[in-house]
Amino acid sequence: MLAIVVLLVIWWVAYWLKLQPPHLLPSPLDVWGTFTKLLTNGAVWEAVTKSLQRAFLGFAISVVLGTLLGLALAQFTLFRRAFGPLITGLQILPSIAWVPAAILWFSISTEAMLFVVILGATPSIANGLASGIAQMPSIYPRVGKMLGATGFDAIRFVILPAALPGYIAGLRQGWAFAWRSLMAAELIAYAPALGIGLGQVLQQGRELVDMPMVMTAIILILFVGILVELCIFAPLERYVLKQRGLAGAKR
């Protein structure tokens, strides 16, 4: 809370010193005006919904791919040796680097955006799950085998639940990457026919040199990303840790 106040004060001082002309550095009040105006106007909500739809779809595909990849990394030593470093490398590569390639392959389309999101999120999810499995106490798979859990049953009843804390950490990071990647993709893959997402609102603001609109878009992007984190991943993680007696009820 204090951090936000400090940030606002710095902003105000910068505005007051006229570090940039007012149309490039509007006052917080101007941005607030545009912000509230845009919020009451349905267009922004449409953009938020559109972006969230794309992000969730891309994230869902990433979860499936990342889970399969993570299981393969954990179960097959040869696969891990061959592809482990590559997948970790992909995690480091900024997914915006894929945008030009995606546009060339898929043209400016929803598929191109999803492609970038998937490449952004999948490695984190795969690595999170693989490290969750690697950190699992070795007694669990033995107990599973003893109880008669083999093959798919072992994955479903023992390995996935045992690796859940690491898996959720991977999902959480995967979500952050998915959201970032989508914004990068939306910013570049800009075609009104595809529907306007938050990244495209940002791009519109740039083209119209409408700084309050740009600022509003930035705030919304941040806000939506944090909201998903706070409403989905944080409670999920807390629940899982609490269930296992690994964390106090509150942080």
Binding site: I139, Y140, V143, M146, L147, G148, F157, A162, R244, G245
Partner: protein, 282 residues
């Protein structure tokens, strides 16, 4: 007292004939539950030039366990008792020799709390029932019955981290029983418990063994525990792990550790165990 002898054939009849000990005819005729035949185990596959194993953990172990028998495997840490139990459980396979379990499937109970922390006590048992293909309609009754059996009735909804060490091992016992196998393998299940809790659990395990008509192979490094529980105590030496001696605990009725014959036997076994440990400390 006889010199330590390796036991090549430990079928009840052979043992009875060799030792001249009194073994009830009914026990001799009891069907074999577990049959271990000249089993050796080495990790890594080093062979000597003559084809024998180099530095085996277990060497030519043979043991027949009758149905309904309670056998304790006693030995110092690292003598390979847990390895042997894992082999019987089928979690690992012997390098040489064979293990048969005509008595059916085995259930293994571990020393540390091996309950799944993401499930409640009841759900841990439910998972065992489910994986043992018990019909779904029976699960709830069966969970309650098993919890009652280990004196944890009504505690099924507790999380594992909410249970004490003793309660966790009770749940683990209930889960092992849920597997519906008549052969129960126990790997120092009470080693981490305090003496009083352990004593209570000894009594309950004895009761459950008789009530449920189980065959139990119980691994421990605790002589008093072995004598308190087992009908037969097998002493193992280390490097390589083999049986060096066995005792039949021919005591009927109350088997409190304070009973004079139990105490005498315990001190006799302790002497032997100490000798084994000293021999390997050199």
């Amino acid at each position: 007292m006889s010199e330590s002898t390796i036991v090549p054939d430990s079928s009840p009849r052979a043992v009875a004939e060799r030792s001249g000990l009194h073994v009830p005819e009914s026990l001799i005729d009891a069907a074999t539950a577990v049959s271990i035949n000249r089993v050796s185990k080495s990790f890594g596959n080093d062979l000597n030039p003559d084809g024998s194993l180099r530095a085996p953990v277990l060497k030519e172990i043979s043991l027949d366990v009758r149905q309904g028998e309670f056998v304790c495997l006693l030995g110092a840490s690292g003598c390979g008792k847990s390895t042997l139990l894992n082999l019987i459980a089928g979690l690992d396979s012997p390098t040489q020799g064979t293990i048969e379990t005509p008595g059916g499937r085995t259930a293994l109970m571990f020393q540390e709390s091996a309950l799944f922390p993401w499930l409640t006590a009841g759900d841990n048992i439910k998972l065992a029932l489910r994986l043992a293909d018990v019909p779904k309609a029976e699960w709830n009754d069966e969970i309650e019955r098993l919890l009652e059996l280990v004196h944890l009735g009504g505690q099924g909804s507790k999380r594992i981290h909410e249970l004490s060490g003793g309660m966790r091992q009770r749940v683990a016992l209930a889960r092992a029983l849920a597997q519906r196998s008549k052969i129960l393998l126990m790997d120092e299940p009470f080693a981490a418990l305090d003496a009083i809790t352990r004593d209570v659990l000894h009594e309950e395990l004895s009761r459950i063994w008789q009530e449920q008509d189980l065959t139990i192979i119980f691994v421990t490094h605790n002589v008093r525990e072995a004598v308190r529980l087992g009908q037969r105590v097998m002493l193992m030496s280390s490097r390589p792990g083999t049986f060096v001696r066995q005792w039949d605990v021919d005591v009927t009725g109350e088997r409190r550790i304070e009973a004079p014959e139990i105490a005498a036997l315990a001190s006799e076994i302790t002497t032997d165990l100490r000798r084994e440990i000293r021999r390997h400390a050199k």
